[in-house]
């Protein structure tokens, strides 16, 4: 999309250099659904348009439209309460479980509406896995944590196949070497970083297409964080990853595209390289430079 079209979309007066005129944007009311930057990608895995989320009377997400590309990490950033986690939870219908939550608009996974009546939610959540802020292994053995999903989805014909899935999942999550001699130990006996990687292994064991991560490193030390970030780089070769993070440095490190949310609006989307060096919207600039509020 060229700049002129973006400008029109944004409903604001951009100078040809792509900079905002003085003061104008800061004062301009945000018009929902008018995101700065290109929300589209070629051949997306997810195509979301005009997504609104209500928690009772509260309008938590306003007319958000964005594509999620295959083999890419999309980072969603923004201040607390901006709706980034809410939006993430829309992608595998986790909001269904919240009472009073209502999701409107279209969310297409590989061209099919995830809100379609025929859509099996359990199946959806296998295709779109999720890793949470706090590692939450089941109170079972390391082996069982990973084997559980493939077993309930009937992905393994016999024990040998199941062993193979557990092995390859732990290997891809970079945990195999550390746990191969104690697969029967409880998952909770691992360190925080290892537990988080166990949860990632559990997610990829069911062959998802997308992995959603909701602040996956906020409970981890810098070394465990670095290992997860490394892992994300490897995983994105096979899966689309959407990550919500409060760490801008992390978003800058791991993602290829970044989306900035503000009070339920998707303000700006763009290549990560650009967003962190030369954002177009004043609100994005203020947030990432620490001038917020």
């Amino acid at each position: 999309m060229d700049t002129a079209v973006e400008v029109e979309r944004a409903g604001i007066n951009l100078k040809p250099s792509g900079r905002m005129p003085d003061g104008e944007v800061a004062l301009a009311p945000i018009e929902s659904g008018k995101t700065v930057g290109n929300i589209e990608v070629e051949d997306p895995i997810f195509r979301c348009r005009d997504v609104d989320v209500y928690y009772g009377a509260k309008h938590a997400i306003k007319k958000v439209g964005i594509d999620v590309a295959k083999s890419q990490v999309l980072a969603m950033i923004g201040p607390s309460g901006c709706g980034k986690s809410t939006f993430l939870r829309c992608l595998n219908r986790m909001n269904d479980t919240i009472e009073g939550a209502r999701v409107e608009g279209s969310i297409m996974l590989d061209g099919k509406d995830i809100h379609d009546k025929k859509q099996d939610v359990v199946q959806l959540r296998a295709r779109v896995g999720m890793v949470f802020q706090k590692p939450n292994p089941f109170p079972k053995s390391i082996y069982e944590n990973v084997a559980y999903g493939p077993r309930i989805h009937g992905l393994a014909a016999d024990r040998v196949e199941l062993d193979e899935i557990v092995h390859s999942s732990l290997q891809r999550a970079g945990l195999w070497e550390e746990v191969k001699d104690r697969l029967q130990h409880p998952g909770t006996s691992l360190s925080g970083g290892q537990q988080q990687r166990l949860c990632i292994a559990r997610t990829i064991a069911v062959n998802p297409e997308v992995i959603l991560m909701d602040e996956p490193c906020s409970a981890l030390d810098p070394i465990a964080t670095a290992r997860i970030e490394d892992l994300m780089e490897e995983l994105r070769q096979s899966y689309a990853i959407v990550i919500v993070t409060h760490s801008m440095q992390q978003a800058a490190r791991v993602s290829q595209r970044t989306a900035y949310f503000h009070l339920g609006d998707l303000i700006e989307v763009g290549e990560t390289d650009r967003i962190f060096t030369n954002p177009r919207h004043k609100l994005t600039e203020d947030y990432i430079t620490g001038r917020f509020g």
Binding site: G18, R19, Q249, T277, N278, I288, T289, G290, F292
Partner: protein, 242 residues
């Protein structure tokens, strides 16, 4: 958007960034003085002034080291993003440009000291006039660039690019004039070569000012590839130009 290095939630960040900026501007003021002094030293053939330039060159270098250190600290502690990141990056580059401009001034001073010792000759009135004129232009350019940098005003900075065109034209014309004089009187060849180097230095100071102006544009979000200090070929004035 209005460029400002302030307004961070963490006030200390404002302080760190402003102090970096102010230091760079102060260094710039010192460099302008150096250029002025060096031009005077050459055109008046004043050894005392030339010595002073060399003494103060150490202060310029000290500024350079200190600002670089502070910029490094700021990046390590604050991890600046977007316009802050561009600002730190650009301030560091502006400081390098200033340091190099001061080096050119030093060359003028060294010429005065060396030549007055060995040959005991001084440039003729016409050459001194040419040098004063080019020096004036170099100082105007540096001052304009520095003011734009002080106010983070990309529009003001763009004026320097215009001034640089004037500088290039003046430089080429002055060069032709001294070469003509040298051809008329072979005894002047040695002095003409010296003067050509001096003029080249002043023209270089103008180039540094132009680069500073581009760095100001860079802070404003104008990603000009030539702002990295790589001189575009059409901006280069070669000595062998007809």
């Amino acid at each position: 958007m209005a460029l400002s290095l302030e307004g961070h939630t963490a006030r200390a960040f404002d302080g760190d960034l402003s102090s970096l900026h102010v230091q760079a501007v102060t260094m710039g003021a010192l460099v302008i003085e150096q250029v002025q002094l060096a031009v005077n030293a050459y055109s008046n053939w004043d050894r005392a002034a030339a010595t002073l330039v060399l003494e103060r060159e150490r202060r310029v270098n000290l500024y350079d080291t200190e600002i670089e250190e502070a910029a490094l600290q700021l990046i390590a502690r604050r991890q600046p993003m977007a316009q802050d990141l561009r600002a730190v990056f650009a301030i560091d580059k502006v400081v390098s440009e200033l340091e190099r401009a001061a080096d050119e001034a030093k060359k003028l001073a060294l010429t005065v000291l060396a030549e007055s010792e060995i040959h005991g000759f001084r440039p003729g009135a016409a050459t001194a006039r040419e040098v004063r004129q080019l020096g004036r232009l170099a100082m105007v350019m540096t001052r304009t660039a520095l003011e734009a940098f002080d106010h983070l005003d990309a529009t003001a900075a763009s004026a320097v690019v215009e001034q640089d065109l004037e500088m290039d034209a003046e430089y080429a014309a002055a060069l032709r004039r001294i070469l003509t004089r040298a051809m008329e009187d072979a005894r002047q060849v040695q002095a003409a070569i010296e003067a050509a180097f001096i003029m080249r230095s002043l023209e270089r100071i103008g180039d540094h000012a132009r680069n500073i102006a581009r760095h100001v544009g860079f802070i404003g979000g104008e990603f000009d590839p030539t702002a990295t200090g790589v001189m575009p070929s059409d901006m280069r004035v070669s000595v062998d130009k007809p």
